[in-house]
Amino acid sequence: MDNQVMEQLLDKYFEGETSLKEEHQLREYFQREEAPESLQLYQPLFRHLAQEQKRGLGADFDRKLLQQLEQAQPQARVRRLTARSWVVRIAAALVLGLGLWWAYTTQEALQKPQQAGIDWSKYEVQSTEAAFRLTSTALLKASSELNHGTSTAVREMDKLKKVGKFFK
C-alpha cells in the first residue's frame, strides 16, 4: 500500500474516524510488512493489537469449568435425627394408630345391613358407535396432553440452546 495512503489512514485512525474495515487493514499492513521509516513507530501498536486478538483461554478451561459446575449442583441435605425427634415420631405413630382403631370400632357399631351392590351392567357400552365415540374422546384427550408435553420440551430445548452457545 502507498505510504501516503497509509499516513492518511493513520491520521484518520488517531482522529477516531476509521471504520472497522480500515482498522483491520491497518493491523494487517503492520503485521505483514516491514513499515517504511516514517511509519515504523506505529508498528508495535498494531502488532500488539493483532497479537492480543489471538490470545485465549488454556485448553483445560472447559474441563475445569465442568468440574466447577458439578460442584455447584445443590447437594441433598443429610439430616441427623435427634433423640427428641424420635420420641415425637413414635408419639405421632401411636396417636395415628389409636385414631384408626377408634374409627374402625365406631364404624363397625354403626354399620347398617349391607346394601345391594351397584349394577354396573347399565353403564356398559351397548353399541359399536358408542364404543367408537368413547375411544375417540379418550384418544383426543391423550393426544392434547402429549402436545402439551412436546411444546414444553421444545421451549426448554430453546432455552438450553441459547445458553449452550456460550459453553462451546
Binding site: F14, L49, Q53, R55, L57, Q68, K159, F166
Partner: protein, 158 residues
C-alpha cells in the same frame, strides 16, 4: 471466535493477571448456567456477560490492591520497587505498547480494547459499557491520542 476468549481478554485487560482473569470467566459462566431459566428476559446475553465480566474483574483487582496495600503497610514495603517482568516488557517495543495500554484509565482502556481488539461496532460498545455514544468515541480518541504521543516520545528518545 468463541465468547469465552472475548470475556477472558476483557478480564485480562482489567486485572492484568491471567489466573484472576480465568477465574472471572469461570464465575461468569457459572452465573449464566445458574440463570439459564431466566435467559429469555435478557435482551443481549453477550453484552450482559461482558458487563458482568467487567464488574467482576474490577472487583477482583480492587481486592488485590487493597490486600497488597495492607501488606505494604504491614511490612514496610515500598511500592516503587521495579517489577522485573515489567522492565523486560519496557525493553521491547510491543511490550511498551502493552504497558502504555495498561496505564490508561479504565474507561479508555476498555473502550479501546472492545474497538481495536474485539472489533466491535460503536453501538455494541455503548451497550457493553453502558455508556453514551459520544463518551465511547471520546474515550477511544483519547486512548489512541495518548498512545500516539507516548510512541512519539519514545521514538525521539531513540
Amino acid at each position: 471466535m468463541p465468547i469465552k476468549n472475548k470475556l477472558y481478554r476483557m478480564a485480562l485487560r482489567i486485572t492484568a493477571n491471567p489466573a484472576e482473569a480465568e477465574d472471572v470467566v469461570q464465575e461468569v459462566f457459572i452465573k449464566v448456567w445458574e440463570q439459564r431459566d431466566s435467559m429469555d428476559e435478557i435482551q443481549n446475553i453477550e453484552a450482559w456477560c461482558m458487563q458482568m465480566t467487567k464488574n467482576r474483574a474490577i472487583d477482583k483487582r480492587r481486592l488485590r490492591y487493597n490486600q497488597a496495600e495492607g501488606l505494604e503497610k504491614a511490612y514496610g514495603l515500598s511500592s516503587d520497587n521495579h517489577d522485573p517482568g515489567r522492565q523486560a516488557e519496557l525493553n521491547d517495543a510491543v511490550g511498551q505498547v502493552k504497558v502504555l495500554m495498561a496505564e490508561l484509565p479504565d474507561s479508555q482502556k476498555m473502550a479501546m480494547q472492545l474497538r481495536d481488539i474485539e472489533g466491535m461496532a460503536y453501538q455494541e460498545i455503548c451497550e457493553t459499557l453502558d455508556m453514551p455514544l459520544n463518551q465511547v468515541k471520546t474515550n477511544i480518541f483519547r486512548a489512541r491520542k495518548h498512545i500516539r504521543s507516548k510512541l512519539l516520545q519514545l521514538w525521539t528518545i531513540k
